[in-house]
């Protein structure tokens, strides 16, 4: 087997090191907003407001009991308190478990998941009418796409 010149080994290590560091930094920028919701009935439910431009990574939904009428849940970003502009950033979750359950609300992957600093997050539920309590844990990251291998 031919020996690999030292310089090549160091270059490869450098590239792998860079890749590892970028992945670590991106993961390190993750944060969550976990919100207890006393009543998940159909409504707009404010979740919080982001400090920096952030990418929505997805959300865990948990309902503590039967939803009553089947419904849906989505996450939106609003440009102000009243949501003068409302953008859906997640797929729509069908809420039909009929009992306590935990579900994943996936992010959309179209660019809308990139949320501007100062935007408000809103949980919009429809249909649900049995007043179950629950919670959502929404996940974001502030660092994205640190570039290609150097």
């Amino acid at each position: 087997m031919a020996l690999v010149p030292i310089s090549e080994v160091r270059q490869r290590d450098h590239i792998e090191g860079n890749s590892y560091a970028r992945a670590a930094m991106e993961m390190a920028s993750t944060f969550c907003i976990s919100k207890q919701v006393a009543n998940l009935d159909a409504a707009d439910i404010p979740i919080g407001t982001v400090l920096y431009d952030s990418e929505f990574l997805g959300c865990w939904w948990e309902q503590d009991g039967d939803e009553g009428t089947n419904g849906t849940a989505i996450i939106e970003s609003w440009d102000d308190a009243a949501g003068s502009t409302q953008v859906t950033v997640s797929a729509s979750l069908t809420v039909d478990a009929g009992a306590a359950s935990m579900e994943w609300i996936a992010p959309l992957d179209t660019g809308v998941e990139l949320i501007s600093a100062g935007y408000k997050l809103n949980l919009k539920t429809t249909g649900v009418d049995a007043s179950p309590a629950g919670r959502v844990t929404c996940w974001f990251k502030t660092v994205d796409d640190l570039g290609e291998f150097q």
Binding site: A21, M27, A28, S29, Q36, A38, E62, R135, T137
Partner: protein, 149 residues
């Protein structure tokens, strides 16, 4: 003074810079889960669900009024903790008449490595005054970035 060969200087700087970067990335990976609990009475209190494998660093609990009891943080494998309910914090014993706040210290063991998708639960005992409380937990997603290279 003898000149230090460049290669020696770079070698000396390299591990130090690497170490600082690793520490910064690890610290930057900290996130918090801060949740208000409407009723601290003895029971299970769901706090949220993890996205990534995360290490429990520690946390704090605060009562909004006087009550006595204990609280411990657990990682559950599913919504009901059917497969595993693992304590990740020491038990905090609160005597609201003395102090409304307490620390939820990490156990510092492998039990604190929580798996992605696990639910975080606060298990309280004894509390019976139906008072509200606040729990702020800290985790990190990046751990052990290796030795100096």
């Amino acid at each position: 003074m003898a000149l230090v060969p460049i290669s020696q200087e770079r070698q000396a700087d390299h591990p130090e810079a690497n170490r600082l970067a690793r520490e910064a990335i690890e610290r930057a990976s900290t996130f918090s889960m801060s949740v208000e609990i409407g009723d601290m009475d003895a029971g299970d209190k769901a706090l949220g669900t993890l996205l990534y494998d995360s290490y429990y660093i520690g946390g704090y609990v605060e009562l909004h009024a006087d009550d006595d009891g204990t609280i411990v943080i657990e990682a559950w494998d599913d919504i009901t903790g059917s497969g595993s309910q693992t304590s990740v914090s020491a038990i905090a014993t609160l005597d609201g008449g003395v102090d409304l706040g307490g620390e939820l210290a990490t156990l510092g063991t492998a039990a604190c490595l929580c798996t992605a998708g696990y639910k975080i639960n606060a298990l309280t005992t004894i509390f019976d005054g139906t008072i509200a409380g606040q729990v702020t937990l800290f985790f990190k997603t990046v751990d052990d970035l290796g030795e100096d290279a």
